[in-house]
């Protein structure tokens, strides 16, 4: 691509972060407001896709040096681990637990194991969509 993409690239540098932050927000808000791991993951993907469009594949790979297949694997492990963890406490598979904790920075917050499961969903969504896009895009 020989055309000058300065405007696009500069805008992307800002917008991509906004999208990413929004996706994180959507992800964390999921339990009480619309959103969740799936949409959050897709929005993160959208941010990365925007990067891919503005820059090229190699640049993005350098900037995000993950193997996204491993991301998929970590996500699946996280989800399955959350679900299976309940067995250790002698309750049925997939029983979630939640309570309020006093955290050093955030103060008293409600923490829920469903969040960890959702994080698994998030990682799998990001990992597999980026894997697909990279695979197809890198083909040419």
């Amino acid at each position: 691509m020989k055309a000058n993409d300065v405007i696009l690239q500069t805008a992307t540098k800002v917008v991509a972060f906004i999208i990413f932050l929004f996706s994180v927000h959507i992800f964390f808000a999921g339990h009480f407001a619309p959103g969740g791991g799936f949409v959050g993951g897709l929005l993160t993907t959208a941010a990365i896709v925007l990067l891919l469009l503005a820059f090229d594949l190699k640049t993005v790979q350098k900037a995000l040096p993950f193997d996204f297949m491993i991301v998929v694997a970590i996500g699946l492990l996280l989800a399955l681990g959350t679900a299976a963890g309940s067995i250790l406490f002698d309750v049925p598979f997939f029983t979630h637990a939640f309570d309020d904790f006093a955290l050093p920075l955030f103060g008293v917050s409600s923490l829920h194991t469903a969040m960890i499961f959702d994080a698994g969903v998030y990682l799998v969504v990001v990992g597999s969509t980026i894997t697909m896009i990279q695979a197809i895009g890198g083909d040419s």
Binding site: A33, F68, A114, V125
Partner: protein, 807 residues
């Protein structure tokens, strides 16, 4: 008896395990010698039961196999099964002895041969001793399988494989029919035991499935015993080694059907269908087989047709024996003869046919050919073989002083009696039986003479035989000589044979009439006095038979009248061809390989089934009251949606179609907004964006695809099916919406989303908590899709090779 002698049935099978070891380790000794022990031991053991059965008692031994299904192996020894067991083991021993000299231990695969043979022996013993119909069927199929293996023993020959396949198809067909018959019988009689079925025969006769069961059982018996029109496998089974032909296809396996008919006579004899079918088919087979035996030029083919014919004779006698269930008074004694004659001839036939097959094998072995046109004048070279062949043939033709004469007399006597039977239209049609029997006897006479005299007498043919003929070795002659001796002995002591073997067997087939073997009380005599009709008929047979035999060359052209394509074999071949070619054509007709066609099938059937059941069940209801009021936003979005869908359909370029598809997706997201589903709307928007991007990407990168800027072609069939699917879904959706059977579960979620799950977003809480299981596997699906795309694109073999080259 303390010993569970049912286990002895499996003795040959057990011995078969050791055959390959003996064959490999002891190469210097012919494996047959070890095998010989098995039938000899069994024969002696079964002889010890003679006393039991002669006293009218039975011996039973049982081991359960599947007790919860009431299935067990039973060895039930009465007169009939003992007679068969003795035949199987006795002739089995002789055949093994014969095969030791017939099969070369260095050239032949003896391990295969004896394993199959021993397997067959177990199967046969199992058939005749089983009292349980299911295990009887098990052994029945085992005979089919081992017979298949034995016929195909020389599997490098085409004819062997053809014959093996043919016999397999026909007998397995019959076997499956038999299974059906057995299942019906066990349903009707409420038991698997044959003895109890016989006891319940009155109830079975009343049952509506009676005729069906009868026909199915008979189909099994007729296919196995090579009755018309199923006899066609037997002549082709002659490709088997001669010991096999002698054992399976004359003395034992083909008599399994006869055994079955005899065994089930007490169950079915009350029916006229049984009597007509068994007697009629038997006589037809008798006539047909004897007529066509004269046409054959191959020694074993003559014997095969003669076996078919003789089996028909025994079958017709068994049918006539069933008549005795209906007759009382003076005539009754006549029909009791029939069952006696059947069993008596069965013994005779096993003896002389076994010896004749062995002689045919000897001739083949010593001259190199079985073609009767090339043989002749062997009498002086092979005198012992000739003597045996002569005795066997004369017994087969029914001449004194051989066993066959007695059974032929008994046979004619029974057939003459048949027209006097008054029930079931026998008075009007009955005359056909003795006439047909007589004509068949004439032909039997002709082919018996043909067999022995064309082979052994006359001039030597000028063409040299493949092997310089000489008399066979002593070992090979022992078995046929022994059998021939028995044939002669039977003539002189028929009543001893009758008392020891036949009477107990008759009691088994006519259990309603007799309780003790001594009550049968039939005396066989070689001389019935002057001018008895049987004697006159025999004289006629001899006279006409001689004339026909001497003028054979003149009337043999008669056989050429029947064209080749108009025969049962041609019918079988065309059935097979039809099966292969026709089915192939049929599947090629609808399996076009086009996904378009398969989709048409699937959609048409879904539409047909769903719509039909919707209206047949009268399930189509539209309840207008349950509809929500229409609002302007919804209406507008719907219009946009419809326009976008039409654009997808009528778009000229793919790009336009993709963009229109995006419009469809976004308007669906709009619907989610209107109907208050923020999570869905969010996801739908993002996923639509990503998928449109993917579409564009894929579209851009698809190489070599022809880009034709045309509208999709209109096809009426597609249009109709698409419209039908749309209408069907609409109808189903409407009527499903109108009939809510049970209230929704969602109230529970509303009530507990905060208290139980500490959440506020019901959708997300359902996804990760209430029903997180689904989500777990959905992300697994996503992961699989990602890996799938990656591996399809990155891990292609050709690419790998290319990259290797570039390095």
């Amino acid at each position: 008896m303390s010993l569970e002698f049912v286990l002895l049935i499996f003795l040959p099978l057990l011995a078969a395990v050791f055959v390959p070891i003996l064959f490999k380790k002891l190469k210097s000794i012919h494996t047959g010698w070890f095998v010989l022990l098995v039938p000899v031991v069994l024969f002696i053991y079964y002889l010890s039961f003679l006393k039991t059965t002669m006293n009218g008692k039975v011996a039973i031994s049982e081991i359960p196999w599947i007790p919860s299904l009431d299935i067990s192996f039973v060895s039930y020894i009465d007169g009939l099964s003992l007679l068969f067991s003795l035949l199987i083991t006795g002739i089995g021993a002789l055949v093994v002895l014969y095969s030791i000299f017939y099969l070369d231990k260095n050239r032949e695969k003896l391990n295969n041969f004896y394993v199959y043979l021993l397997m067959f022996m177990t199967a046969m013993l199992g058939i005749v001793q089983s009292d349980h119909v299911i295990t009887l069927y098990l052994f029945w199929e085992l005979t089919s399988i081992s017979s298949f293996l034995l016929i195909g023993y020389w599997y490098t020959r085409d004819r062997s494989r053809f014959g093996a396949l043919k016999s397999m198809l026909i007998t397995i067909f019959g076997g499956l029919m038999l299974l059906g018959g057995f299942v019906l019988l066990s349903i009707m009689g409420d038991t698997y035991s044959i003895r109890e079925l016989i006891a319940n025969s009155a109830a079975i006769f009343e049952h509506e499935y009676f005729i069906l069961a009868l026909v199915l059982v008979l189909l099994g018996a007729f296919t196995k015993s090579a009755q018309f029109p199923f006899y066609i496998w037997l002549p082709d089974a002659m490709e088997a080694p001669t010991p096999v032909s002698a054992y399976l296809h004359s003395a034992t396996m083909v008599k399994a059907g006869l055994y079955l008919v005899a065994r089930f006579t007490p169950v079915f004899a009350a029916s006229e269908v049984w009597i007509w079918l068994v007697t009629g088919i038997g006589l037809l087979t008798l006539f047909w087989g004897s007529f066509f035996a004269v046409k054959q030029t191959d020694l074993k083919a003559i014997l095969a047709f003669s076996t078919v014919s003789q089996l028909g004779l025994i079958m017709s006698l068994l049918g006539a024996g069933a008549v005795s269930y209906h007759v009382e008074g003076a005539n009754a004694a006549l029909f009791k003869f029939a069952a006696f004659a059947a069993i008596f001839h069965l013994i005779n036939h096993a003896m002389f046919k076994g010896s004749l097959f062995m002689v045919a094998g000897i001739v083949d072995h010593q001259t190199g050919t079985r073609d009767i046109r090339k043989l002749g004048g062997l009498m002086s070279i092979m005198p012992i073989s000739f003597t045996v062949a002569f005795i066997g043939s004369m017994s087969m033709a029914g001449l004194p002083p051989f066993g066959g004469f007695l059974s032929k007399e008994l046979f004619l006597k029974s057939m003459i009696a048949l027209p006097e039977f008054e029930l079931f239209n026998f008075a009007t049609w009955g005359m056909i039986f003795p006439i047909l029997a007589w004509i068949a006897s004439v032909f039997t006479f002709v082919y018996s003479f043909y067999f022995v005299f064309k082979t052994f007498t006359g001039k030597k043919k000028p063409e040299p035989l493949p092997i310089q003929p000489k008399e066979a070795s002593l070992g090979m002659l022992i078995s046929p000589v022994l059998l021939a001796a028995v044939v002669v002995v039977i003539f002189f002591i028929p009543n001893l044979i009758g008392k020891a073997f036949v009477n107990p067997a008759v009691v088994a087939t006519q259990s309603d009439l007799f309780t003790h073997p001594d009550e049968v009380g039939i005396q066989v005599s070689a001389w019935h006095g002057f001018w008895s009709p049987e004697l006159l008929m025999t004289l006629g047979v001899i006279g006409l038979g001689l004339v026909l035999f001497l003028t054979m060359a003149r009337w043999q052209k008669l056989y050429d009248i029947q064209p080749q394509y108009f025969s049962l074999n041609a019918l079988y071949d065309s059935l097979l061809t039809f099966g292969e070619v026709g089915m192939n054509r049929l599947s090629r007709f609808y399996m076009t390989g086009l996904i378009r066609t398969y989709l048409i099938y699937m959609f048409s059937f879904i539409v047909l089934l769903t719509t039909a059941s919707l209206f047949i069940q009268n399930a189509f209801v539209v309840d207008m009251d349950s509809f929500a009021p229409l609002n302007a936003y919804g209406l507008m979005t719907a219009i946009i949606l419809v326009i976008a869908v039409c654009m997808v359909l009528f778009a000229k370029t793919r790009l336009a179609a993709i963009i229109a598809l995006g419009a469809v997706g976004y308007s669906v997201a709009l619907f989610f907004v209107i109907y208050k589903a923020p999570d869905l709307a969010l996801t739908q928007l993002v996923i639509e964006t990503v998928s449109v991007a993917l579409f564009l990407l894929a579209f851009h990168h698809l190489p070599g695809l022809k880009r034709h800027g045309e509208t999709m072609k209109f096809r009426l069939g597609n249009f109709i099916i698409a419209a039908a699917v749309g209408v069907m879904i609409t109808l189903v959706a409407l009527s499903a919406h109108s009939q809510k059977m049970i209230p929704s579960i969602s109230q529970y979620y509303k009530d507990t989303v905060f208290t139980e799950a500490a959440g506020g977003n019901i959708v997300n809480v359902i996804l990760v908590d209430y029903r997180g299981f689904d989500t777990l596997f959905e992300i697994a699906v996503l992961a699989i899709a990602g890996i799938g795309v990656y591996s399809m694109i990155r891990l292609r073999l050709s690419r790998k090779e290319n990259s290797d080259e570039s390095k």
